[in-house]
Structures are given as C-alpha cells and as structure tokens.
Assembly symmetry: C2
Homo-oligomer: 383 residues x 2
C-alpha cells in the first residue's frame, strides 16, 4: 500500500527503457484530491539538477497534483536542454492527466552530466498514467531504485487519517538532505503552509541526519502531498509525529541499504551545549574515513572517534570527554577507559555514544561503515 494507503492517491511504476539494465524505471504518484496542498524540501547543493529547479518553481503556489519520477538518469548538469527535458516530463504528464504542468513535480536519479533518453521517458509517461492504481505503490517504489537492493516504504496511522512514504537512497547520502528522492502522502487536511512547516521539521531530524558518505546530491527531493480525502483536520502534534515517523523510517531504511555497507552506526552526542554543537560533533565523526574503516574492521578504535571530535569548535573540555562503543565505555575523561576487547560487533547495528558534558542537548546522526564493497560499487558504477 504505502503511498496509496492514505485516501486519494494512485500510483504506478513502469519499465520505460530509461535504465540500460531494464526493469521498472518510471514512477508516478497522483493526488486525486479533493485538496492538493503540497510541500517540498530540496537539495541545498548550488549545482542543482534541472528537475529540482523545475519542482521548486512549480511548488511556489503550494499545490501539486502529481509527481513523476525516473531512475536511469539524474538530468543534472545538462544545461538549458536539461531544463527543457524536465519541463517536457511535467508537460507530458500533465497532458495525460488533464492537469496543468505547474501541478507536476519532477524527480530524477542516476548519472550526472548526461541527457535523459527523452524518447523513452516521454513514451513511458502515458503508460505510467494508464497503469495508475491504488495498488500501484510497490511498483512505484521499485521504479525509483538505483543501487538500492530493496524498495523502501513506510506508513503510520493517526486518528482518522494516515501518512505514508516511499524513498530510494543507496549512495550520495548526506545532508543538506539524506535521500535522493522521497514522496510522502497523507489524506489529512493540511494547508500548504502547515505542510511545509511539518515537512521541513521532519526532514531536519531524519533525512538530514542520515549521512552515509558525506556526499550531497544534486537531485535530493522530498515532496509531501496532502489530499484531504479523510476530511480530518489533524492534531498538530500528532501529524507532526506521524510525518516524522515516516521520514525516520525511510531514512533508517536508506542507511540499512547503503552501498556496500556492513554496519549501521548511530553516533549519538550527549550533553552538547546546543543542538548545533551536537550535530556538528556527530556529523564530523560520521564523516571520518578512519572511523568508518575501523567500524568495518570491527575495531572499537576510540582514538579515531575522539580525534575527530577534537577537530570541531563545539563547546567541550578536551580532558573530560567519555566515549562508549556498543555500551562499553572505552574512553573516560579523554583517556583510557574499559578494555576495548570487551566490545562486541555481533550485530549490524553499532552505537557510538559521545559524552561532551557541556549542556543538555542530544543529537543522533546515522551513518555506515566504509567497506571494500563501497569502494567497488563507487569505483565501478558511474553515478
């Protein structure tokens, strides 16, 4: 069900011959109303892809009726012809749905710096429209996969309405935003202004804190569409929590399926003087290649953790930091703590807890280890 679980939505995924490998590669999610409130969060990369620029402009009125998404090409760094291609994707989708092009969001993922095979894309769009169905969400989620090994969906139910989402991740996962593409749907009654607030807040602490490899894509997009089909105006805190839960589940699934990873690592900073400090410290650790290779090697090498912490300007006393790996306090007061051989690496999930003792804030950033397979996938797969 996923994105079609909330009332008012249909979806489809078709094989349009965009991916050279074949398979599903064109997805469509349609909001059939009665309301068309929408919000988006986009990459902050200044080298943004043509579909991002299209979608940002089209969303200025806070309305969207459809999202067309393709794998097999990012349509990034393709100049004015790329902008024309993104507009054509919106235009053809709008024509087939009998709506305005401005009501169509466009998302693309794949290799940067190559034109899309537009003959295939445009021929696929009417077929995607014809395939629209309330049971089409699984095909849609599969059609946006690139190096993902499984499709990623989530849903959460509130008082008389629900929230659902789908995403794809795998590589180039870093802030600004931690996903390539995600679509969130709800049948709650949420006006566009509130939708943007809810989505931005949810993304800030979920997708934006999943940092697989520190690389921010040109194409990152999260779109939220609210159909209002339930007729329910939700409690603010409840709908915020539901949207956050769906985003958190999707972000967690991205980390769990990151390219070549063998470990999902939650780096939690405790006792930070500010949320910003906590995020800075956590993110700096998650981006240390020495830390990430140590995790791959099942080595609770806290020296690599604390030396990363030491490069930040966060508030802390360099002589009082504690660090635990999988609940073993291997570093006390920035010095030798429990015997590091006590740390078990039996599970895929690893926890790293850093105690700054400088305040009350706590922040978790998720990342992966750095493995042979990460190198293999990214050395051999041009993306």
């Amino acid at each position: 069900m996923s994105v079609t679980q909330p009332a008012g939505f249909t979806a489809s995924g078709v094989a349009a011959d965009i991916k050279s490998s074949g398979g599903l590669d064109l997805a469509l999610i349609v909001n059939n109303g009665p309301r068309f409130d929408a919000a988006g969060v986009f990459t902050t990369n200044r080298i943004s892809a043509a579909p991002v620029r299209w979608s940002q402009a089209a969303l200025e009125n806070g309305q969207a009726k459809a999202v067309i998404l393709n794998a097999g090409g990012a349509n990034a760094c393709t100049g004015t012809p790329g902008d024309d291609d993104a507009a054509a994707m919106a235009g053809h989708t709008a024509q087939a749905l009998n709506i305005d092009a401005q009501d169509v969001q466009v998302c693309s993922t794949g290799l940067i710096g190559e034109r899309l095979p537009m003959d295939s894309v445009l021929a696929g769009i009417p077929r995607a429209v014809a395939a629209l169905d309330t049971n089409g969400s699984e095909d849609a989620a599969k059609a946006i996969m690139t190096t993902d090994t499984r499709h990623k969906v989530a849903a959460s139910t509130g008082q008389g309405y629900s929230v659902a989402g789908m995403t794809k991740g795998a590589g180039m996962i870093a802030p600004g935003m931690a996903t390539m593409l995600a679509v969130i749907t709800t049948d709650a009654v949420v006006d566009a202004t509130l939708a943007q607030q809810l989505l931005s807040e949810a993304v800030r602490t979920t997708f934006n804190r999943a940092d697989s490899d520190g690389c921010m894509s040109t194409n990152d997009t999260v779109v939220l569409m609210a159909s209002g089909a339930s007729g329910v105006t939700p409690d603010h805190d409840e709908v915020q929590e539901l949207i956050r839960d769906v985003c958190a589940s999707l972000a967690r699934q991205i980390i769990g399926d990151a390219e070549g990873s063998t470990r999902d690592i939650a780096v939690t900073v405790h006792g930070a003087a500010s949320e910003q400090d906590g995020e800075t410290v956590a993110r700096t650790v998650t981006r240390s290649n020495l830390f990430k290779t140590a995790m791959f090697g099942k080595d609770p090498n806290w020296g690599r953790i604390i030396s990363a912490v030491g490069t930040t300007d966060a508030v802390f006393d360099p002589t009082t930091i504690d660090v635990a790996v999988n609940d073993v306090m291997v570093c006390r007061n920035a010095g030798i703590g429990e015997d590091r051989s006590l740390v078990s690496f039996d599970d895929r999930e690893v926890t790293v807890d850093i105690y700054l003792k400088a305040g009350e804030h706590e922040v978790t950033v998720w990342t992966n280890d750095l493995s042979y397979d990460y190198v293999r996938e990214n050395a051999e797969y041009s993306s």
Copy 2:
C-alpha cells in the same frame, strides 16, 4: 644526508623495541649550534597528544637543541600519565645530552589511547644519543615510519647555507596539518621570530594542502631548528623559498606514499574570488569519497566533482563552471563538455582543474584516491 646536511646537526635512529614489529623506532636529531633558534607548527586538533603539549610549551622561548621522536605509540589520550611520559622522554634525552629538558622537543606517532612502553623508550634514549652522527639521518628518517613504505627526506641549497627535512606520513593526513611528524633543519642564521614566520608560511601552502583522507591527527608536529653554523644571514625571499621547497617535497612524498593509494591527485581551483574560496573548493573535492573512488576506478566522473563544488559557499556562478580531468575539459559551463572517454589514466598522477571564473586566485590541494587497500590498511591496522 638530509637533516644533517646543514652544518651543526647530528642524528640517529635505533631499534628500541617500541614497535611490536621490531625495527628502528626511536629517532634523535640534535642541533649542536652555535645558535638554537627554533619554531614549530602543531596540530590544531583540540584533542592533542601529550608530546604536542610538551613541545608547544617547551618552544615558547623559541629555542630547541634536540628532537626525540618515536614510532610505535602516539602517547595521545593517555591523560596525566601520558604527560609524565612525554616529560620523561625529554628529561632523559636532556640528561644524556647534558642540556635542559625544556630544550628538547618530543614527537610520537602510532596508536592513540595506549601508554608508551616507557621501559623500552627510556632504555633506547642513551643508545640513540650514543649513535648520534652526521651520517645518522637516514636511520632517523626510517625510525619514524609507521605504515610508510619508504622514508622521506628532502634538501635544498642556498647561498652558503642549506635547508633539509625529514617526515613520515601515510595515514591520518589532513589539514590543520598534513603530516604526522616532520623535522626541518638549516644552518642559516635565522632568529626564532623569523623562523616561526618562515615555517608557518611554508606549512600553510604545503603540508596543509596535502589532504589524503581528511582526518587530522592528534600528534601533527613540524619543528624547524636553525643552527646558524653557516654564519650566513640569508636573503629573506630565498630562505622562505628553500623552506617552502623542502616542505613541499616532503608533503608531496607523503601523498605519493599514502595508505593504499594508487593515484596522486592535484585538485587545482582557478579563478577563485579569494585564496580562502579556492582552498575551500579544492578541499571539498579532495574529501569527496565518491570523487576519490571514481579516481580509483579511472572514471573521469565530473558530476561528482561539480556536485562537491556545489556544496560550498565559494563565490561562483553555478552555470559557468568548467572542469578538466587530465587536461580534457569534460565539463563546460556546468554542463557536458568533451567526451569523458578521452581522459587517460595511464599515470599515477592525476590533475583536476576547476575554473570558477570568479577572480584571480589559484589554489592546489593534493589528495589520493580511495582504494580497496586504504580500507584494508585502516580496517585491519589499529592506529
């Protein structure tokens, strides 16, 4: 010859049983005067090692007569006992040389978070003193190697004096400072204030622009000692150039011997609005794992380069950037340029040139690719 090429210096390297693998692991460089002017540049990591704290304090008077260096242990994150160990290394060296402990610089490299085997270290010091010789520089350079595959020395000759240096690198090479340990010697007459200016300026554009894996060590130290034994007061510009040349050669050797690397990559930013902008852009590209794995895979994937550039706040127009890989302009005006299949990867050295078209500044940062062997060395070698 290297560090003993300038008159007034002796050196030694001995096997003191500090490294578990055996081999040379304790080095000593002595300045026999007549002058003892000295300068240092140290890691800016706030989690600095005990020997760094010792050396910074000892150098406050601008004088040093000896540097004692060990591999086999970093003496970092070892608390007050670690500070005592660093002081004991200085004290025992001073005693054997009949000088003050404050005139001894201490450098350590190896695993963080473990005490040094002080019995071995202290027993080795008198033997290092006994071995001091003008021909001892090669043993000294070898004694500081960790995962280095070769020792690293450089020298340059001016009008009546010379400058020389030795270093070790291999891993955890990033700014702040790009080496673990380096000692630079000269027999020019250079007072301590000038020595610090000359060294800081040289380090800024050499060691600090060699960024192998983005990880800054707790132990980075560059010490310059000036014996004045030539009696020559050098021309300012000439001695600056010589010190820079020696530092540049040593930094380049570190990149050429970085853990598991198959490519040395010079990322040069042209047309930056400021030197800071140029450095920010170059460094951001050198730290992209997607870029580094593409280089390992001989893939001139300019999308990964330009998407890294786009994450910076440097001044540029996102629609006019050009990128060349090994002199093939694969990206023009942020879009598709020459055919990427024209790029040859026959040589170990790779050049990436990024044209921001925003000003007159040019900055080069050196880095390496990200290979299977980088992962292997850092997953299996606890450092």
